[in-house]
């Protein structure tokens, strides 16, 4: 079989030994693999290009381009290479070669739920600081992630390092942020302005997701586990109170706004009982209804909740 691409350049198939399939990304399958030349373990994300169709998928294009911009930060997963190959039928396949991380935050939280233990407070603090730092880095480079959730936060359980992954829905933004289609996003971590039909996203949609993840680390349960868009909103309103023009100017003009049952806000401590005062304050600032009032990732890093965290290795 002749090598595609000519002398010296190994095809993806020849360069890597697939070990096992470990998941499905936004667009395509993900494998754990070993690079034959170095023995290094990597994650291969495979995207098939149908030559009779419309070329490189936008999600792949955005993810690679954005990761090219972001790969310097230790809290964003590192894209090591992009390789073209051909599958058995001769179709072109793209392989994104990522550093491999053993687990993700979803599995990490589940393991604590199964044993009945709580996640140690200092571990929560360290993970949250790393998450805020990674998000601040993305936002500082004009990138919205838009799909932050525990499954997309990769972890090394030995070092407790955390990295943001799966930027297939991420967008580079400029002012004013252009109107975007209503794309599929995981419901539980979705900001209320998105649920209510705002199409002009801002960095605040990621901060809302960070807040939901924060609460979930503490309680080991999703904070707002809705199974439809309406149920998602009602979950939020039951805890934070049904929003009105006083607490969120402009909310009643959003496209999906309706009459909703009127709930009064509850204290966050009822939902996250074991979190201390400083943590509750930070969480409340991440879950402000009005997007422009939500804390930024960079300001979150400066919050007093993180004061006693040893940040030298983060």
């Amino acid at each position: 079989m002749e090598k595609p691409g000519g002398g010296g350049v190994l095809s993806a198939k020849e360069a890597f030994e697939k070990l096992e399939k470990v998941g499905e990304g936004t667009y395509g399958k993900v494998y754990r693999a070993r690079e034959k030349a170095t023995g290094k373990i990597v994650a291969l994300k495979k995207t098939r290009l149908h030559e009779d169709e419309e070329g490189v998928p936008p999600t792949t294009l955005r993810e690679v381009s954005i990761l090219r911009m972001l790969s310097r930060d230790p809290h964003v997963v590192r894209l090591m290479d992009v390789k073209q190959g051909q599958n058995k039928e001769g179709k072109t396949v793209l392989y994104l070669v990522f550093e491999y991380m053993d687990t993700d935050l979803k599995k990490f939280i589940r393991s604590f739920r199964q044993t009945g233990q709580t996640v140690p407070p200092q571990t929560i603090k360290s993970l949250m600081y790393q998450l805020c730092k990674g998000v601040a880095f993305c936002h500082g480079h004009g990138i919205l992630h838009r799909d932050l959730k525990p499954h997309n936060l990769l972890m090394d359980p030995k070092t407790m390092m955390l990295k943001i992954a799966d930027l297939g829905l991420a967008r580079a933004f400029t002012v004013p942020i252009k109107k975007y289609t209503h794309e599929i996003l995981t419901l539980w971590y979705r900001a209320p302005e998105v649920l209510l039909g705002a199409t002009h996203y801002s960095m605040a949609v990621d901060i809302w997701s960070v807040g939901c993840i924060f609460a979930e680390l503490v309680t080991k349960q999703a904070l707002f586990p809705g199974d439809s868009e309406l149920q998602q909103l009602l979950h939020i309103f039951r805890l934070l109170g049904t929003p009105n023009e006083d607490v969120w100017p402009g909310v009643s003009k959003l496209m999906n706004w309706h009459e909703y049952p009127q709930w009064n806000p509850q204290s966050l401590s009822t939902a996250v009982p074991s979190l201390d005062e400083l943590g509750l304050d930070l969480l409340s600032q991440m879950l402000k209804y009005e997007p422009s009032k939500r804390i930024s990732a960079k300001k979150a890093m400066e919050h007093a909740y993180f004061d006693d965290l040893d940040k030298r290795h983060l």
Partner: protein
């Protein structure tokens, strides 16, 4: 007021990048915008438009918005300038008139299709950026003399890629080729050219563009709502005119700053 002080410091920094006459223009325009902003508040139609554009009209919220964004200040401009260095283009066009001619045709085609589909200005800027970087990649230059259709095929691929990066709806390859051209390419050819372009550009598809600087400048001026959109619309119109102008001049990213001069003339009350 701490905010004004901060803005002033930023303007001092910008003096290193832009010549003094431009800074004078900047001050003048700033005053003018302030007046225009007050005018907008008196107009019912404009107020209505403002309401639909932003969620709030209160001054307090606007200040908070500015505060929320200010954390970009120290690093953002230097970050843009550092990245811009990577985008500097060679002078190859001056030595290759055949390429210059086919490039200009390709740019004109991109602008027409962009207008046809009401794509954003950023989509057009990205597409031209990709095309220029691709044309100047080493391996392509020799081929283009023998195959002028390659430049047009590259233009189709570059516009498709730009639309995928920036637009929410991307037309099919065949539908994208709506404007008159000597060539019509089938999907398979555009597909392969997309991969070729991506490889040549190292998949770096979010470059610094003139619009990146306009983004920064707009926020420094504290423009918001309708005024922000109107300002950006005019700047974008000027940028596209430069693209379409005689010679199809290539934009450097910081040409966003030069937009101030024609903007000032346009807004002069006299």
């Amino acid at each position: 007021m701490p905010l004004d002080h901060h803005l002033f410091l930023e303007e001092i920094k910008m003096a290193h990048r832009y010549p003094k006459p431009l800074l004078d223009t900047l001050y003048c325009l700033k005053d003018h915008i302030h007046w225009e902003e007050e005018q907008v508040e008196d107009d019912e139609y404009s107020s209505s438009t403002t309401t639909t554009i932003t969620n709030t009209n209160t001054d307090t919220s606007s200040v908070v918005f500015l505060e929320h964004d200010l954390f970009w200040d120290r690093e953002e401009l230097s970050s843009l300038l550092a990245k811009e260095h990577q985008n500097q283009l060679s002078n190859t066009l001056q030595k290759n008139l055949v390429l210059a001619s086919s490039r200009q045709e390709a740019v004109e085609w991109i602008l027409k299709v962009n207008a046809h589909y009401s794509f954003s200005t950023l989509t057009a800027v990205l597409a031209v950026n990709y095309l220029d970087r691709f044309l100047f990649s080493f391996r392509f230059q020799n081929d283009s003399n023998n195959n002028p259709w390659l430049t047009q095929l590259a233009a189709v691929a570059c516009l498709s890629l730009a639309a995928k990066v920036e637009e929410t709806h991307v037309p099919l390859f065949v539908d994208l080729q709506v404007e008159e051209s000597k060539y019509l390419f089938e999907a398979k050819a555009v597909n392969r050219m997309e991969i070729l372009v991506l490889s040549a550009l190292g998949w770096q598809m979010n470059p610094v563009t003139p619009l990146s600087f306009l983004d920064y400048i707009t926020r420094k001026l504290g423009l918001k709502g309708y005024l922000c959109l109107e300002f950006l619309r005019r700047c974008e119109t000027v940028l596209l005119s430069v693209f379409a102008g005689e010679g199809g001049r290539m934009l450097q990213a910081d040409d966003g700053g030069c937009v101030w001069v024609p903007m000032r003339r346009e807004n002069d009350p006299s």
